[in-house]
Structures are given as C-alpha cells and as structure tokens.
C-alpha cells in the first residue's frame, strides 16, 4: 500500500473565479507510515485528504495508489479502493435517523453486495452485528448502540464515526482535524482512541494541534497556500519552520 502524488493541483470552480486549493504537490507515503499534515486554515489539508480517499480528482498531475491512477478508476474498482481507506471527518455526519449500531454497520458497505446491504437494513447478519458491537465497545458506546445518531452528543458521534472505521477495517486511516469541534478533555481521550485504532494501519492526519502532531507522528508535512512548505521528520521540525508555516498573510489559496 502506498500513495504517490506528482505535481498535483486541485482547482475548485467558484463564483469569484477558480480557487486553487492545491498546487504542484509532490509527495510519497509508504505503507504503515504515520504522517501529520500541518498548516493554517485554507492551506489545502482537507483537499489533500479528499484526493487520498478518492472522493475528489486532481485537476492536474496524478495521484497513484499502489501504482494505479485513482482518477482513472470508476464503478466497482473505485469502490474497491475506497473500501481500503477509512476517513474520520472534521464534523462527522452520521445518518441521523439510523441508530449508532446501524451507523457503525455502514463500515461494511464497501464490502457488502447490494442484496446484503438491503437485507442488513432490515436485519443484519449476526456476524456483521458482532463486528459492529465490538467496535462500539472499543469506543465505549456499547450502551448507546440502540440510540439514534441525532440523539448523541458531538463527542459520541465522533466515536461512532471511529467505530465505523473499525468496522470498515481499512489499511489506511485518514482524519481531518477530528477534534476541532470538541473540548480539550475529550480531545485527549479521542486522540488516544484514534491512535489505538490506527495501530497497524497507515495514518494520515490533518491536525491543528502541533504538540499532538510532534508527539505522535514521526513524519510532518507542512502545507501552506496549497503547496508543500516542508516534509520532515518530527525531530527535525524547528520552531522557525512552524513560525513561517503559520505566519499571517495567508496568500490566496483556500481549501
């Protein structure tokens, strides 16, 4: 499992003209790595993650997963790749009218056939349910399995999203500032949980907590204005590099 990006650009059309979210990004991530993406808001971290989980296609350049160009995939090939990549979003959007258990079961969707997904909506197979319940237990929400997602607190929803990744059992875990909307006490707990869940998998995390990144991620990629500002071992990241990364006067790009 490996990601390779060569001269990748991502441009969003917008009313005020095109917005260049990423520009000339060249990057390689090998299997089993732990990489933190740092950078000010709008640096392109979220856009980069969308390229990694194949929900966006680069405007220019190429992103390859195990040597295959993601942009060339469609249909079942695309599903097969996405199944191996799990994402925890900044503000998880669970399906509000489904229970926590059902939302966790959604992690199976990439590997289920259509018939099996239909049957599971009525009554999931015991083996599938066991996996989902075990995941809810890992994130400490077993007692909320039957609660509707829209009855859970923000932190609980975030845990269900992590449980869904556990059910999905992907080789790569992507997280997009997953703690941005939580209070500090919860952040520490959830960070531990996420690191635990990501054991044995490649982890790529967009973070705004620099200390957390330096403490747990051996490799740091700094993004600024849609470009790679630095790509270094955590031990080599200097205060000067961070100051320059976060300095005001963000130039242009949004994302």
């Amino acid at each position: 499992m490996s990601f390779e990006l060569r001269e990748v650009a991502l441009v969003y059309p917008s009313r005020a003209g095109a917005v260049r979210a990423l520009d000339g990004v060249t990057l390689a991530i090998a299997g089993g790595e732990r990489v933190a993406l740092l950078g000010p808001s709008g640096a392109g971290k979220s856009s980069l993650l969308k390229l990694f989980n194949a929900t966006a296609r680069p405007t220019a350049g190429a992103i390859r997963f195990e040597g295959r160009r993601l942009a060339a995939l469609a249909g079942s090939d695309l599903r097969a790749v996405r199944r191996r990549i799990g994402t925890v979003f900044q503000q998880p959007s669970l399906v509000p009218s489904l229970t926590a258990l059902q939302n966790a079961l959604c992690g199976h969707l990439g590997s289920w056939s259509l018939a099996r997904s239909l049957r599971a909506l009525l009554a999931a197979a015991p083996s599938d349910t066991r996996v989902a319940l075990a995941a809810l237990k890992t994130v400490g929400l077993l007692d909320k399995a039957a609660a509707r997602a829209d009855e859970l607190s923000g932190g609980q929803q975030q845990r269900v999203a992590i449980a869904r990744v556990l059910v999905q059992d992907p080789e790569v875990v992507l997280t997009d500032e997953p703690f941005a909307s939580l209070d500090p006490g919860l952040t520490a707990q959830l960070a531990d949980l996420l690191l635990h869940v990501a054991q044995g998998r490649t982890l790529i995390a967009a973070l705004h907590d620099v200390e957390l990144a330096l403490a747990h991620f051996p490799r740091i990629v700094g993004l600024r204005g849609g470009r790679v500002a630095f790509d270094a071992k955590a031990a080599e990241v200097s205060p000067q590099m961070l100051r320059e990364l976060y300095a005001h006067e963000a130039r242009g790009a949004v994302g």
Partner: protein
Amino acid sequence: MKRALLVGAIAAALVVCAIGAQVQTSPLFDPANLRAVGAFVRGLFPPDLSPAFLPVVARATLRTLGVAVAGTVLSMALGLPLGILGTASLWRRGPLLEGERHSLGRAALAAASLVARGLSRFLRAVPELVWALFFVVGFGLGPLPGTLALAVSYAGVLGRVYADLFEAVPPGPIVALHASGATRLQAFAAGIWPQAAGSVAAYSLYSFECCVRSAAVLGFVGAGGIGAEINLSMRLFEYGQVTTLLAALVLLVLGADAFSRALRGRFQRNAVHGSGLLRDALELRSARRGLGLVWLALLLFAFQQAGFVGIAAAGLWPHLGRFAAQLFPPDLSPAFLATLVTPLWQTVAISVVGTAIGIALGSVLALPATSTLLVADPDRRRGLPARALRVAIHGAARASLAVLRSIPELVWVLLCILAVGLGPFAGALALGLHTAGVLGKLYAETLEEVPPAPVEELRAIGAGALQRLLWGMWPQARETLASYTLLRWETNLRVSTVVGLVGGGGLGLALYNDVQLAFYDRAATLVLLIYLLVAATDALADRLRRRPTARGIALAPESALALIAESGSAAAP
C-alpha cells in the same frame, strides 16, 4: 417479530383490496384489449390540426378558462363570508370574547360560526364532479353547472383556508381595537384583514390554478369545455383530436400556473411589507383606472363564457326547485343502504390499489429521475457514450413522470377502460398511473434534497449509488416520503368516489346510475355517504400524522399545496 406481523398485515390488506377492486392480469394481455390500446396509441398521431377542428379546440379552451375564472371569483365571494364567520378567534374563543358577557346573541353567533365551518367542510368533501353532476341535472348541460360546481366546491376550500389565515394573524392589534370599543366586524376590517390580505390573495390565486385543472375535467359529466370535447372524441374514436385537446389542456394549465405564480410573487412580497392586497387594489383604482376596466371586461367575458347569459330563461328556476325538492328526503331504507355496501367497499379498494400501483410505479421511475443517483454521480464512468446514456435515461424517466402526471385521472380512466374494460380495475389502474406521476416526482425531489453530508461519507467508505440510497438517503427521507404518500391516498380516496362517473366502478357508478334514472333521493344518500367517507378518511389520516412515533411527518404547507395543485381536484390544504 413485530415487523413481520406489520408487513404481513399490509400484504393481506393489499390482497383483500385487490380482490375488491377486481384486479386481474388477464384483461391486460387480452388480444382484443391490446388491439384497442394499440389502435388508440397509433391514433394519437398525428394530432388533428385541421382547420375544421382547431376552432373547436379554441372555443373549448376559452370556455374552460371562463369556467375556471368565473368559478374562482364566485368561490371567493362565497368563501369570504364563510371564512369570516368560521374564524374562531372572532366568534368563539380568544381575547376578543374574554371580556364579554354570556348572552343569547353571543351563543347564536358562536353556533353560526360552527355551522359555517361545518358547511365549508361539507362543500369541499363532496368532489366537484359530484356537484357538477347535480347541477347538470338542475340547470341542463353546458358550462353553467360546471362553474357552479367549482364555486361551491372551492368555496368550501377557501372558507377553511381564509378562516385559518384570519386565525393565524397576530392578536395584538385586534385586542387594542377591541379595547377601544370597536365591534367585531370593525376589528376584523382594521385588525385582521390588513394583515391577512396578502396571503388571502396568494391562496385565492392558488385555488385558481386548481380550478383550471378541475374545470378541464368537469366536461366529463356534461359541463362543457375541454373535458366534454375529450369525452366526445374518445367515444368517436377520433384519437388524433384527443392529442390536440390534451395538448391544449396542458398548455392552459401551464399558462394558468405561470400567470398565478407571477401575481402570487407580487402579493407575497407585499404581504411581507404588511399591506398586501389593499394597497394593490388602491393602486389599481387610482393609477390604472384604464387597466382596471380591461380586467372588468375580461371578467364579464369569463362569466359570459361560463354560461351566465340565459340564466333568467323561463322555466329554469321552477325546474331547479322541483329537482331540489326531489333530493329530500334522502332514501335511507335498509334495502337501499344494503346495496351500497359493495360500491362503498369498491371505492375504498380502488383508492388503496391505485395508491399502491402509484407507489410501485412511481418509485421505479423516481430512482432514475433522481439526479444525485444517476447524472450527477461523479463515480460513474465518464466516457461520452456512457454519459449520454445516463442523461437519456434520466430525461426519459422525468418525461414519463410528467406525462403520467399531466393527464387527469378521468382521462386515464377512459384509456384504462380500453385496456381492461369497464369496472373498478380500470378506475384503480387509472388512479395508479396518475398517482405514479405525482408521487414519482415528489419522491425524486425529496431524495435529491436529502442533506448530502452523511451520504458523502458513505461514498468515501466505498458505498455504491444504490447502497447510498438504501443507507444514506432513504433513512433521511422516509418520513417525508411516508407523509406525501399518506396525503396522496387521501386525495385518491376522494377521486375514487368519482372514477365511476366515467365507468371506473365504485360509488361514482352507483351515483351516475341513480341520477340517470332520476332516483334523486338515492343520489342524495350517496352524496351523504361520500361526505362521510371523505370526512372519516381525513380524520384517520390526521390521527396517523399525529402519532408520536411519526417523527417529523408534519408537512410544510407549501409542499402540501403543491401536491394539491398536482392533483387537479379540490382538497383542503
């Protein structure tokens, strides 16, 4: 398991209703019937555009429009007093009455208010086609009975809508006026009307749109206009004329919608600024006196088209009196009532089977019509042929829904009679086809408007389009879908009481026969029965909607109105 029981009960009910509606597959594949349908479809093209026929179409269209305009104006004139009298906050409860002594006069007014509300309910519960059938007997063939039917039926709708609007007005100004000694009518004129006028105008225009759709089908029972011509051309096997007439009908409906939407937008903008109709009317009077005269002339023309010319003809009024007298007393003999059990049951069965067909066919068409599932799905293959195919399927699904929806139920009944013969199955099938068009469009729009974020997360997990539908869109949409479907069933029950008037079975057939044979006392009983049936359905649907488990089932009034507009038959918003 509870769910298994529920599914079993629903399936059993459907089977029972299918038996009641005489659902059979054999007539669908009967070679003679297939030939008749084939001849019809072939006959539709080319449309008849001959110089001899086009004037007929133009006259019929103008007549239908005249009936709709005159019917709307009369229904407003009747509905306004019903609405004012039916407003609970004026006569029955609320701050206006709190300080008053109990007196005989006050009790009488409260009672009159309740009567006005009940009368509104009765007028709108009886379908306008039934009213038209009666007025045709009373006044003779022609546009006049159609106009009166619309006037009466929509007076019931507007009476209720107006009363609701008047009650929804913030009470502050009324209380202040009342405290300074204003009478109730003064409080209404100065405190309620200025606040409600904009909405009153908007809803009246809205009911005009519905009236246009209704006016087109009233001709099926002899009330003139496009419906009468379609009926005639069908019976003469002149299917090319049917195409032309249907095209005229669709254009008329679209034109009326556009006209009313434009005006409504203006009234609603004014309503926001607090003055509404009043200021518009004043503007019209002072600055545009000339234009006002044009409107007046158009209105007079509409009434002329609607048959209000020979209304003083000798013999009409005595005839009407005799007819009305024959309605009373309604025939309530047990022997007659016993004969009504079968048609009553057929009517309910037609509405259930028709709705079920509509759900099934509508769902099948709704999926390709949902753009987020097909054309706007970025995961699909991007080659030009594949994309063109998707766009074509999407367009075909949307177009099919539009065709199914824009052909009124009663026209579908005539077509279905060709396919399966006379009887309740034809009625159920016709109801199902029209309902498929209405529900399919609503389903597609509901699915498209589901919050996208949860669905996008499922996409990132690797869920395919149909999996996202099952696990992401359906759970978010199901309550809205259920409430649309329930509302549609209510409408269909109303319609299923009249499909029999053109050969679709049920109570309508019994009513038609009794009117033809001049058993007016029996016809009166049937109208009462239809009223009770519709009222009971409304009550049942209200209870289903209020169930605490039906989370979020409450429908935005605008969407409910949209649904009614689609139906072309009057229903209380």
